[in-house]
Amino acid sequence: MDSLHTINNRGHAVYRRGETRNRWRWPAFSTVAACLVYAYLILPSLTVIPISFSESFSFSELSLTLYRRLFESSTWMTAIGNSALVATLASTAAVFAGTPAAYAFARGRFQGRSLAQLIVVCPLFVPVIVIALGIYFLGARSGTLGSVGILVLAHAMYAMPFVVVMVLSGLRQVNPSLEQAGYIMGASSLRVFLQVVLPQIRISVIAGWLFGFLVSFDEVIIAWFISGPQTETLPVRMYSSIMWDNTPEIAAVSTLLTLFSFVICLVMIKVGGVESVHASGAPHPRRDVRT
């Protein structure tokens, strides 16, 4: 067993005996430390799964009681519905506003371009609590606190930097000469954007939408400040549930969210993998332009 490890770990240089053994000991320590940290990260979220299938913390019998109560509870179902609606609308708005903006920041030439980019990306660097307070003031002054509209648009603003950053990184891998060919042939910038650029960056756009959806779906602080009883989102419901009434349904919700994040993780790896393949294997149109 020991010799197997040394063979696996050497690979390139020739070692004397003592050194090989020495070399094995250090990775083992860092591996053990890394595995402990993986456990520290993953295990807490996994503990909610058995809790959700049991009643009152006893593992003696499995039951789906909590899930039935969750699906029968109108407050929880309203909160889930609100979150899904707000996240879908906000992320869609963020993509519609952010994708062309990213194209303008990457390829456009206008006065104050970097200032404009800074303004759009700036919310990433501001603590959410400060943004939430400002939007609370905006809502309070305009009398729109508790409406769906302000929540959707606030989340769209908050998710947009993520979309812009993703699309910008996608655009970096697109050769601009294809667009320039379009301009030379007399296409308008809108047409070039829609027919030349967009097809090439579609994966970044999809990833940006997904990212925006998750950012909005997970967001607590802004929603805590500006959502009303009718527009309470799932994170806000969970927050108040843990804080005040501690309803047991939260175990079921947490399990569903853990599974959801597992699925998201798989999708992200899949999408990320496709994107890297897309980047390395020079895609068809680019080669056409060069030759």
Binding site: A13, W26, A104, L133
Partner: protein, 276 residues
């Protein structure tokens, strides 16, 4: 020639229009509101600032915020470093698996994590139940205190710290390590004086980033901490919605903005200098 060049790079300002309007109304205007509430007619900015700083509660909360974010950042980097090192040493397939072990908590809602920690660390939680059953030890108080806040914060932050450290480890030129190996340096020495030194920019960026993120923490101190572990975000919430003192809330949030802005600038400086 020049005209053709301009034509090939159109202005495209209109393309950024929707994004700019959205950012203006829901980011710049709100920031303007905060700025306008910093001073009121009966109490100017300076008087307001003096009364905020003189409040014992605010001073305790400031100290909490600094203590928690600094210690959480250091602990997080200590936890994240072996993970980054482990990931970077894996072969392609295992690297994806290990990376997803970091990515999954990154995508897990902070409320799920907080609830899970409540179950694990609470007075009737898993740890205390196990201790009682196995050793007959009466419950250890692990909930609603600084310990719980630090567990919750580090648990949340580790993925954020892994990414920059991983980037600085993956960018290293392996030839140097190999040269040191050939010259007979011990693995520990190679790690310490080559790998670790070269990853310092990533470590520093991770440290500062964790501090910025944890300074604005709201959910974790509110749910896992006690009344004495309030952080700046919690006191902003309290001033806004319980005390209805919008001036103090605005002043505190401006202070928070200044602190985290200074740290963010430092991060950008490090990243632009090293190209990490």
């Amino acid at each position: 020639m020049l005209r053709k060049k301009i034509h090939l790079q159109p202005p495209l300002l209109a393309f950024a229009g929707a994004a700019l309007v959205l950012s203006f109304i829901f980011f710049l205007v709100p920031m303007g509101f905060i700025g306008s509430y910093v001073g009121t007619e009966e109490k100017g900015v300076v008087d307001g600032l003096i009364s905020v700083v003189n409040s014992r509660l605010v001073r305790v909360v400031f100290a909490n915020t600094v203590e928690i974010s600094v210690s959480a950042a250091i602990l997080t980097v200590l936890l994240a470093y072996p993970v980054a090192l482990h990931i970077v040493r894996q072969k392609a397939r295992w690297r994806i698996v290990c990376f997803s072990l970091v990515l999954m908590p990154f995508w897990t809602s902070i409320l799920v994590k907080s609830y899970a920690l409540l179950i694990i660390l609470g007075d009737d939680g898993l740890v205390n139940t196990a201790l009682r059953a196995l050793f007959g030890i009466d419950g250890i108080n692990m909930m609603f205190n600084r310990f719980a806040v630090l567990v919750g914060t580090t648990n949340f932050l580790v993925p954020y710290a892994v990414f920059p450290i991983l980037a600085s480890l993956a960018a290293q030129n392996m030839q140097i390590q190999r040269a040191a190996e050939v010259m007979g340096a011990s693995p520990l020495r190679i790690f310490w004086s080559i790998t670790f030194i070269q990853s310092m920019p990533g470590v520093l960026a991770a440290l500062l980033m964790c501090m910025v993120i944890s300074m604005g923490f709201f959910v974790t101190p509110a749910l896992l901490g006690g009344r004495q572990d309030m952080m700046m975000a919690n006191i902003i919430d309290m001033y806004t919605r319980e005390i209805l003192d919008w001036q103090s809330a605005s002043l505190i949030s401006v202070l928070l903005l200044v602190f985290s802005g200074a740290l963010s600038v430092a991060i950008l400086k490090i990243q632009s200098r090293t190209g990490a």
